[in-house]
Symmetry: C2
Subunit: 420 residues, 2 copies
C-alpha cells in the first residue's frame, strides 16, 4: 500500500485482513448507509431486539412482578456493571449501570466534594477544574450542585489541556475531565493528569462517554478516583440507555451523595423511614431503573466479550489514520482544518474537520447515506467504531466528501435544525 | 344481588354489565393468573411490544441518529407528558415524563424549598412534613437533599393523617405526601390538605405513584403546587418506566433545582459552557432519557384515552367493595384485619389485610396463580386495576384465599425473600 496513493483495493485488502471484520454481522446496519456516528448513537446489535422481546413478552408480559427476582431485574445495574468493568479497567462490584450520565456526574461530584471537605485542608479546597470545551452537561451539573451548596465553590474553566499544569494547585478540590473530547477527539493521558491532580491533593473524575468501548481505559492503573460514562455511544446499548458510574473499592466507604433513593438503601425492602446507605457499589443507585432499556445493554457488551480493547484500539487508529490520510490527499484543495490530534496517544476514535460550510456539507453527506454529524462551531465530526466500521466504509465516505466538495454539491444557505 | 351472599354468578353478571370489560383484551395477561399486583407493576398493553419493535428495529436500527428529530425522541418527555396530563387534571405543557420518581422528588423538593427561602418569612420555614408510613424513597430523598443543603431543614414525620392539622404551621416549608398510601391504600383529600398547607403559607407536593390511572386526580382544582408519579404501576408503562413530574404554569418561572443537565437548557445544542434554564416545563429535565422504556408508556396511555377516569374510579370502587365484602364474609373466621379505609372518599385502588402469616399466605396464593404482594409488617396487599381486573377475578381470588386459610394450605415457616 502506497500511503500517498491509497486505493479502493487497498481498503478492501485491509478489510480482508481485519480480525474484527466478522463482528459487523452482529449489527443491524442499513444496507445503503455508511454510519460514522456511532460516537453519538451506537448501531443496534441484532441480539438487542431478541433481548427486548424476552423482557417485554416473557419477563414483563408473562411473569410480571415475579421478574424482579426471577429475571434478576433488581440486580441488573450491578450485573451489567460487572460485564462492563473489564472494558475500562475496573474490578468487579465497582460499576453500576443506572440513571443518566448527567445524574451520575452529580453523584460523583457531590461525593468528591464531601471527601475533600473532610480533609484537614478541606476548607481551602473550593475549586473544580474542568474544560470550557467539555461536553456542556458536565459543566452544568457541577454548576447546579455548587450553586445549591452555596459554600464558595468555584468552577475554573481551562481553555486548553496545556493550562492544566498551572491551574491545579492546593485550592483544587476536583479535576473533572472528559477523557476524549466530544468535539475534537482529543484524548487525555489519564494516568498523567490523575497523578498531577493527586500531587496537589485533588481528586480526579473522568467522563468516559467517548472512551468506553472506543479506547483502552485502565482506571485502576491510572489511579483514577471516579468515573462515569455513556452506554449508548460506542457500547451500543440503545438510544438513551442508562449510563454507568464507577467507584473504586478504596472510595466506596466514603461515597456519599444527596440522591439517596431506596435502591441505594442497605435494606430497600425493609421499608424503614430513615436512609441507611448500602455498603457496596449499589450506594450509587437511586430509584427504579428502566428495565427494557437497561437490559438491552447486555447485547452490546456481549459483542465486546468476543474481542479485546487492544484489538479494537488498534483498528480504531488504523481507521482514523486512513480517514485523515484520505481526506488530506483527496480533499487537499479545500479549506478543511483537522481539529483532531494526529498523535495516536492524543486521539480518540472520532475525527473532526472544520469547514466554512460544515453544516451544509454534513447534510449533503447524510443525504448520500454517509452519516457523520455537525458540532458547533463549524465542525464536521466522523466517528469510527471498530466493531462495525470497515476500511471500505472509510474509502467510500471520503469519496463522497471529495465529490461534494469538488462539485459544491451542498446548499451553503441551509439552516441548521435545532436538534442533534 | 344479595350483598350478604354474593355468588360467582353475581360476579359474572357484573362483568357482563361492565363498560370497561372489553379493554382487558388490549392487555397481555397470563391465562392461568389472577393478577392483583398492577399497583406494583402494571400488566403489559399488547401494543407496547409493537411500539418497542418500531423503536428498536426502525427508529434505532434503520434510522439511527436521525430519530432524535425524525421520530421525535427528543420531544418524547413532553409529548407523553401532554398525553398523561388529562388523567391527573394537569394542563398541556405542565408535565414531563423523565427519570425516576425519586429523582423527580428531589427536583420538586429542591424547587419548593428555594421558593420558600425567597419569601419574606423564608428564614423561619425550615420544616418538611411527611408521613412515617410514606413510601420510604420519598422520605429518603428529602433527607438526602436537606442533609446536603445543611441549612437547618428538618423533616417532621407524622404518624397518622389526623396529625396534619396540628403539624402544619408557620414553620412549615413543604407538605409532601403520597396521595394514596402504598401500604394501606388510604387516600388523602388533596384539595383539603393543600388548602390547609396554603393557609399556613406552606407548599404542597403530591406523590401520585398509587393514584395516577387509579383514582380521579384534579391537580388544578386542588390547587396543588407540585406532583410526581410513577408510570409503571396503574399506567402500565412497563418495568421501571420513567416517572413524571408536574409543575403548574404558575410555578414554572420559579422552578429551579440542582440537577441542571443539558436537557433542561434553553438551547441544548448550542453547547454553551453556562447553564441557561429553559423557560418551559422542560426545565424539569436533566439528561438523556431511555427511549425504548420511555416510548412504551404511550401504549398504556392510549388505553386510558378510550375511557375516562370517572368510569375507572367507579369500577375501582366496585371491585374493592366486592373484595372487602367477600373476604369479610368468606374468611370471617380467620384473623384478617382490614387496613384499608372502608370510606370511598378515603380509599385508593388497592386493599390490604393483615394476617399473622401474611407472607406465607401471599406465597401460597401466588403459587395458585393469584398474585398479590406482601408488605412489611404482616400485610397482604391486593391491587385492583379496572382496565383489566374482572369481578370474577375478585371472586376467584377470594375463593383461593378462603381455601388456603380454611385448610391452612400455607407454610407458616417460610422465609421471606429479600426482594419485592
Amino acid at each position: 500500500m502506497n500511503i500517498n496513493h491509497i486505493t479502493h483495493s487497498d481498503c478492501l485488502a485491509l478489510d480482508q485482513q481485519d480480525p474484527l471484520a466478522a463482528l459487523r454481522q452482529q449489527f443491524r446496519l442499513p444496507a445503503q448507509m455508511i454510519y460514522l456516528d456511532g460516537n453519538s448513537l451506537g448501531a443496534q446489535p441484532k441480539a438487542a431486539f431478541d433481548r427486548a422481546q424476552q423482557v417485554i413478552q416473557e419477563e414483563w408480559g408473562n411473569d410480571l412482578i415475579t421478574s424482579w427476582n426471577k429475571a434478576g431485574w433488581f440486580d441488573l445495574p450491578s450485573r451489567l456493571g460487572n460485564l462492563l468493568a473489564p472494558l475500562i479497567g475496573a474490578q468487579a462490584e465497582e460499576v453500576v449501570i443506572t440513571d443518566s450520565t448527567s445524574i451520575n456526574l452529580f453523584k460523583a461530584i457531590a461525593a468528591a466534594l464531601q471527601i475533600q471537605a473532610q480533609q484537614a485542608d478541606g476548607a481551602q479546597r473550593k475549586v473544580i477544574i474542568t474544560e470550557r470545551s467539555n461536553f456542556p452537561t458536565d459543566i452544568y451539573m457541577a454548576e447546579g450542585l455548587t450553586k445549591w451548596l452555596d459554600r464558595g465553590y468555584q468552577i475554573h474553566l481551562i481553555d486548553s489541556p496545556e493550562e492544566l499544569t498551572s491551574a491545579i494547585n492546593q485550592h483544587t478540590a476536583l479535576v473533572m475531565l472528559t477523557h476524549v473530547n466530544y468535539r475534537t477527539g482529543y484524548l487525555y493521558d489519564m494516568a498523567q493528569v490523575t497523578a498531577l491532580a493527586h500531587q496537589h491533593g485533588a481528586l480526579c473524575l473522568w467522563d468516559l462517554a467517548h472512551s468506553a468501548g472506543a479506547v483502552e481505559v485502565d482506571l485502576h492503573q491510572a489511579q483514577a478516583d471516579f468515573a462515569v460514562g455513556c452506554c449508548y455511544k460506542y457500547l451500543n446499548g440503545g438510544p438513551g440507555a442508562p449510563a454507568f458510574i464507577w467507584v473504586p473499592q478504596r472510595h466506596q466507604a466514603q461515597f456519599h451523595h444527596p440522591l439517596t433513593g431506596w435502591w441505594g438503601h442497605a435494606a430497600p425492602f425493609a421499608m424503614q423511614p430513615n436512609f441507611q446507605v448500602t455498603p457496596n457499589i449499589r450506594r450509587a443507585l437511586c430509584g427504579t431503573q428502566p428495565i427494557v432499556s437497561l437490559a438491552m445493554i447486555e447485547s452490546g457488551l456481549q459483542i465486546f466479550a468476543q474481542t479485546s480493547m487492544s484489538a479494537i484500539r488498534q483498528k480504531s487508529l488504523a481507521l482514523t489514520d486512513l480517514f485523515i490520510q484520505l481526506v488530506e490527499t483527496r480533499c487537499a484543495r479545500h479549506q478543511l482544518g483537522l481539529v483532531t490530534p494526529r498523535e495516536h496517544a492524543k486521539r480518540g476514535s472520532h475525527v473532526s474537520f472544520t469547514h466554512e460550510h460544515a453544516y451544509a456539507v454534513i447534510q449533503a453527506l447524510i443525504n448520500r447515506g454517509v452519516v457523520g454529524d455537525y458540532r458547533e462551531p463549524a465542525i464536521m465530526r466522523f466517528g469510527f467504531t471498530p466493531l462495525y466500521t470497515s476500511f471500505v466504509d472509510v474509502w467510500n465516505a471520503v469519496d463522497a466528501l471529495s465529490d461534494i466538495l469538488d462539485n459544491q454539491l451542498y446548499d451553503a444557505n441551509i439552516q441548521r435544525h435545532a436538534v442533534t
